[in-house]
Symmetry: D2
Subunit: 350 residues, 4 copies
Amino acid sequence: MKTIKVGILGSTGMAGVEYVDLLVGHPWFKISTLTGKKNVGKKYGEAVRTIKNIPKEVEDIEVVEPDPKQVDADLVFSSLPSEVAREVEAKFLEHGFPIVSETSAFRMEPNVPLIIPEINPDHLELIEIQKKDRDSFIVTTPNCTAVGLALSLKPILDNYGIEKVVVSTYQAVTGAGFPGVPSYLILGNIIPYIKKEEEKVSSETKKILGRLDRGKIEHAKFPIEASCARVPTIDGHLEAVYVETEKNVKIDEVIEVFRRFRGEPQELNLPTAPRDPIIVTDLEDRPQPRLDVMSGTKPGMSIVVGRVRHGESNNTLKYFVLSHNRIRGAAGVAVLTAELLFVKGYLEGR
Amino acid sequence: MKTIKVGILGSTGMAGVEYVDLLVGHPWFKISTLTGKKNVGKKYGEAVRTIKNIPKEVEDIEVVEPDPKQVDADLVFSSLPSEVAREVEAKFLEHGFPIVSETSAFRMEPNVPLIIPEINPDHLELIEIQKKDRDSFIVTTPNCTAVGLALSLKPILDNYGIEKVVVSTYQAVTGAGFPGVPSYLILGNIIPYIKKEEEKVSSETKKILGRLDRGKIEHAKFPIEASCARVPTIDGHLEAVYVETEKNVKIDEVIEVFRRFRGEPQELNLPTAPRDPIIVTDLEDRPQPRLDVMSGTKPGMSIVVGRVRHGESNNTLKYFVLSHNRIRGAAGVAVLTAELLFVKGYLEGR
Amino acid sequence: MKTIKVGILGSTGMAGVEYVDLLVGHPWFKISTLTGKKNVGKKYGEAVRTIKNIPKEVEDIEVVEPDPKQVDADLVFSSLPSEVAREVEAKFLEHGFPIVSETSAFRMEPNVPLIIPEINPDHLELIEIQKKDRDSFIVTTPNCTAVGLALSLKPILDNYGIEKVVVSTYQAVTGAGFPGVPSYLILGNIIPYIKKEEEKVSSETKKILGRLDRGKIEHAKFPIEASCARVPTIDGHLEAVYVETEKNVKIDEVIEVFRRFRGEPQELNLPTAPRDPIIVTDLEDRPQPRLDVMSGTKPGMSIVVGRVRHGESNNTLKYFVLSHNRIRGAAGVAVLTAELLFVKGYLEGR
Amino acid sequence: MKTIKVGILGSTGMAGVEYVDLLVGHPWFKISTLTGKKNVGKKYGEAVRTIKNIPKEVEDIEVVEPDPKQVDADLVFSSLPSEVAREVEAKFLEHGFPIVSETSAFRMEPNVPLIIPEINPDHLELIEIQKKDRDSFIVTTPNCTAVGLALSLKPILDNYGIEKVVVSTYQAVTGAGFPGVPSYLILGNIIPYIKKEEEKVSSETKKILGRLDRGKIEHAKFPIEASCARVPTIDGHLEAVYVETEKNVKIDEVIEVFRRFRGEPQELNLPTAPRDPIIVTDLEDRPQPRLDVMSGTKPGMSIVVGRVRHGESNNTLKYFVLSHNRIRGAAGVAVLTAELLFVKGYLEGR
């Protein structure tokens, strides 16, 4: 089997470094190019050393600029900073690179699929529409906070219908990139504001849970009311979720529904797919970021749901959900999406 | 004017120590007795030294047992641990002491007022009913998390009506007492569970916002859906609040409604009353516990509301509210309540 | 080969839980009994669930009291709380159990070896003296802070001689056990005092580095001046070390001396022995607890030394050293010591 | 009495904001100009709002560039970033401004006094030498870590003589300025390196404790061996100090020596002078940054010494010392120095 060469745009950032663990030793993909900004010319290991101890296999790769001419790859992952993402991704598209991007630049474009492989693999059909205009295509993955929410809502939506969602978040500092949040601001503190985050959580989740109908995504209609806050944790976005369902819910039943939830990645046995996309903990004081964020068969790829309980009426549901913001919420969902593209034959063109 | 001698039951705990700052130099009240458990026989300053540097005036008071015979007071504040509160408070009632208690022991009893002086001073009428059965009486103050929520909801309820509340909390470690949360559990972590807290937030807030009608409190009827979590902050419970109102809301208007909110403590100019019970911040990333918890003319007595904004429809409102859990949420609301009792003549009997 | 059944006394504490990872799957040892105090009768997984997610193999073992009659083992590890360690360990000795103890109860007894296997395996000869009086024996391992210091000093002592040591520590909260340090005291704070720690660091390190001469240990003579502080980290005691040597030191040379350092565990290829007992980092701002505490071939078993530099004269040396307080500093050094005992035939008697 | 108009260069940084509290309401000094870099043109309150809530008196002052032509002042304080300090301070000197600088730019110049007013006010004589060459002059104050060390060493030096000092530090994040240390790096972590800090602590302390002899400072000769680390605290540098003295020390006596220590600021009763430059705590586990950093009659201006004890011989001394890095260690020592200059008539020229 031919190995797919992958480049990582923005590889030296807080999410960028997570691709490395997922891709070193990957059966189908091989890192060919790592791009950065301030660290161009440095060895990768040196460039990211304050963030992470990374494997020997990639230590000596030289960081290059995010310039299509310097990138030798069959696929590029984009983890670029938001201020340059749109421009650089567009350039790579022009040069014919298929892109899986975790940036927000193109997420809400009508013809661009916004994918969580367990939820809406069918949205990849939008690639065909993109290909009418150019040779290459872009697939996006959601904001790190939307990922955990959408994954946990999907089986509820399918089984009970959803009328309304209210979610409050407890987001780790790595979600803000590097250097990110100054320590002075967050030590012993909470910052109840993350720029544009609440809007993204709502609109992206609705798109992901939307229905593809004759080449158009009909976004989910129910309100998603988010309040987002930064907390002094390292990894793992925790969310307190309140859902009003169309049908009444039984708690034991919804826990089973969570646990049985599977998607195409599990059916196809994709390399980065966890056995259980949703782990439900029985412990009364969990999930906790430090103890649970690396749970499951593919650490960081499962979300962990806990404290599943009724609200004050039988068509309401409350729970906490934890997802690893840099793995399932960024590098992991992107790699899983790329694996799906590979299996479906989208990466054969180059 | 006669000085009121006050005893503090459970004075050596995390909330107990806050009474001292509020009562040393108080124009009406004078600390006469401090009780404790493990520290009986020690000087107060020594007993609490790991928690707080406290004023010289009380340093040398000897800590005694919470025994009515050892307490010389016209009024006792109770900050007792929950497992003994009911029994000990009952004993003090039998011995004729008026009690202002921040414990949960009697909060939900039908004849016991649960008071936030700015909201429901009229509920003090229940004292008359209590007095039919005995000489003394007990008045309670709410759970620290309910205080900030109820105070912020009151002007909304009065001006727009409320259909539903969904609240998620970010609660400081001092809310769990001392020694409280082990550092191992909360450093770089969030604990999404606080025993019985969600139930208290809902039921107590409904009682406080209830209407007294012919000697009975008719609790508020709208659902209050709480999700409570412990976070690694020292002081200040932050809450993300979502409200559905009966009437549509204009944001500028509701901000004015918050800012203009006053109650009897302000009208009566009580010593511990802050000028503004509700401070509204214009800054986009506030209130923050570390920077804002001591805001206002009486530090720790004002709640701070920020990010007041619409949800996805015009009858929805979202905001964050911060209240000092040990001052406004415990010792402060109790002292303010005692001041109200004093002004209304309830403390003259003894 | 016969499997050695091992019991763990005090298995439910902060250090106790670390034995499990080291012993599940161990080629020679098999956990047979787990004792506890408050959790007697509970399943082990449930007893320690707030501290750690532990492997399935031991989840269902029932926790029993630390009573010799309830323990079926060829060897017991003791991780008992200090207040009961002396009494309980004595009882197990009477009942003929060989003990490897990480508690301080018997560490400084003249006939009791205080072992770091890479440094003073010859001190195990003291077992013979113990055996004159009874069938069983006890071997101890040092205080978690002394371990990292002693390991880093050993090659310096052997190559350059030592005149004086001044050490200041940055100790993680897990070093205080569970529940240990209240979060209120350590969040955003440093506590510059750990009871009896400075004395232990000095006296134990001198015993470990001492010379066995005709059945007696002659303790090292140079002063070890320790200042110990608790810091808000989870795992890993960091120490700032200043050493005055007898001979002048070249920095490049001493780094080589650190890196080449090996002991019997490495020669014997013991299962828990790391390839490099001492890892030296070249990075200017390391070792850091969060990034480096699990370094090496046996995570948590290597110490990491960094910033090796001269003081103001050529016979002075400064460096930082990091050691995992629960693994190399507690469970790990005990297991490694037991492996040494096994290989040397000390565990065959039972 | 004429009011002295003072400008603050670098007023929007982490140390800069502390001048405001010390100078608003000051009897002699009045803030006339505030300079900044990124915030030029903004109101001061807005410019620093993420760092501190500051008093109304200065909220509306417009931040200007650090340009001598835009500054109307009789004295400027410099809190400039190190990379521009030398150039900008030189320019202000050329324009005839007397400068009190807390930056390192000119600290070690032979003719520039490096002042802690309680220790070496006589070094101000160097101003006369400076004035031979130009109209204005510059006086510097030390690195924030050197301040606490030097103040605590001074009475030891005077009473017992010093042979050697070994110091390890636990430095708060505000010492690194703003945005300073990324939260990702310091949450639950220690960083055992602060660029050039160890060199500064040693060389500056020796200069401060040096003797002025015929226009030249003879630096102290004993070694000062520093190891500096960043810890996750907000304010207050804690230091573990080991001292070898010339004469033997009695602990009770040295505690008295610390407590009785006074300098010119106390004799002259300067506005910012604390009654006790050195507070000695009797509590066994103090000083602690969060609980003790604001001790004394002028919060943040006293250093707090604790755990004063012998090392392993009678001419050794160990203690912990805490000093507020932004007040006594920066803005406070600068304002106190300016007060001394004022009283001594150095500010009359302009």
